[in-house]
Amino acid sequence: MHILENYILLEVIVSVRQSLLAILDQGPCYGYQLKSEFDRRTGSTWPLNVGQVYNTLERLERDGFVERTDADADDQKNYRITAAGHAEVATWLGSPVVRTAAARDELAIKLAVAVTLPGVDIINVIQVQRGATLRSLQELTRTKNATDDPETAEQLSWLLVVDSLIFQAEAEVRWLDHSETRLARAAASGVASAVPLNYEVPKRGRPAGTTRVAQAR
């Protein structure tokens, strides 16, 4: 099993569509070829299946970013990028990836709910999580240590992915440390943490007086 596969289970948002288009910008490809190109450029961290690739290609074709060329001798469907597609790639590379603040974060939801439940040892929830995250961090670091200096472009792009996962894990550990301190302070100042069920909340609709915050997708 690939060492990074654990991370694929996390909510990973990858610009697959844009990446495939950017690869096609180098020259025409058929579906399986495109899948292999994407996989090797990302260290097979987010492996695609061919069906997903063809679905994406159909949508790109519908949007006018790619077009089909004549099938080759093996009857492979070949795709090439259009002028609009080329412009789309340039726009993608030139604009930042916006991480939506409201994107669901499993761990933040878990802690937010856990802290309101009576009898839950929230500090232990944090410690269990930190232990697991640190072990992942060690695993990723060992993986990185095994590749001393990247020798190929593929290794280099793979190391970029590993580094990104390492920095994300580090940020999570820092946030957990911070949460732990915050909870200790709250406990010391006697902030009641458990939130009992409120039977007066209307069963349907939004409670009066609340406003809609940015909705998680």
Binding site: G119, V120, D121, N124, Q127, V128, R130, L134, L137, Q138
Partner: protein, 241 residues
């Protein structure tokens, strides 16, 4: 021969007496084996640096034992502890602590010469140590002519020169940029894998991840979170009425 390089057994450290006494460390047990790097994490003031100075024989604990390569420090004279420190232990600090008037190879050879080694033999061992951190070509440079990362690699070479096998590193990457820090940790890791052992004190999880084991200091106590209670234990304190 045992593969234990360093052992702390019930180590406690208190400052002051009576009501104003401050407990810095409380019953700390810690073992470092050959080929093992142990990271110690913890907030400022959690006792990380105190623990390192005790492990290195620079401070005697209020109670408990420090055993370095099988030798009990509490049974030794101050002079013998100093000799043991020179022969067995090497410190790596955040600010490198190299002597500016000595070249890289002279800095590395210094603990050996203090220990009575002949100049030529000490220099040869120092060159070997510099080789392991890939700095042979900088041997005759003075610290001021070396980058921060190179100075820290010299400090690592000094920490493992001759018979020294125990590296005690206190935030060794604190003064370095992220890529250089990573290179220093890679070198540290390589030295440990080649038969040394050590403690890495850091507050940075990304650096601690280079270690085999990560333990936390909380209120002077060691908490090993890699053996944390499982999820099923989370609700044990719930009392259903």
């Amino acid at each position: 021969m045992s593969d234990v390089l360093l052992q702390l057994d019930g180590v406690s450290q208190q400052y002051g007496r009576g009501e104003t006494a401050v407990t810095a460390l409380s019953g700390v047990d810690l073992t470092v084996h050959v080929g093992e790097l142990v990271a110690i994490m913890g907030a400022s003031g959690s006792g990380k640096s105190t623990l390192l100075t005790i492990a290195g024989g620079l401070t005697s604990p209020t109670s408990g034992e420090v055993i370095v390569e099988g030798k009990w420090l509490s049974t030794m004279s101050a002079k013998d502890v100093a000799i043991l420190r020179r022969r067995s232990l090497g410190f790596v600090f955040q600010d490198f602590n190299l002597i500016p008037a000595l070249t890289a190879v002279e800095n590395v050879a210094l603990p050996l010469e203090l220990d009575g080694w002949k100049h030529r033999r000490a220099r040869s061992a120092a060159m070997d140590a510099l080789g392991t951190v890939e700095l042979t070509d900088r041997a005759s440079h003075f610290p001021d002519d070396l980058s921060g990362g190179q100075q820290q690699r010299v400090a690592i070479a000094r920490a493992v020169v001759g018979t020294r096998r125990i590296i005690l590193a206190d935030e060794p990457t604190g003064a370095l940029d992220s890529t250089t820090g990573e290179l220093v940790l890679r070198m540290l890791r390589r030295r440990v894998d080649a038969g040394a052992g050590g403690i890495l004190v850091t507050h940075d999880a990304r650096h601690a991840a280079w270690a085999d084991r990560i333990v936390f200091l909380r209120d002077g106590r060691i908490v090993d979170e890699s053996s944390s209670r499982g999820v099923e234990a989370l609700l044990t304190s719930t009392v259903r009425e």
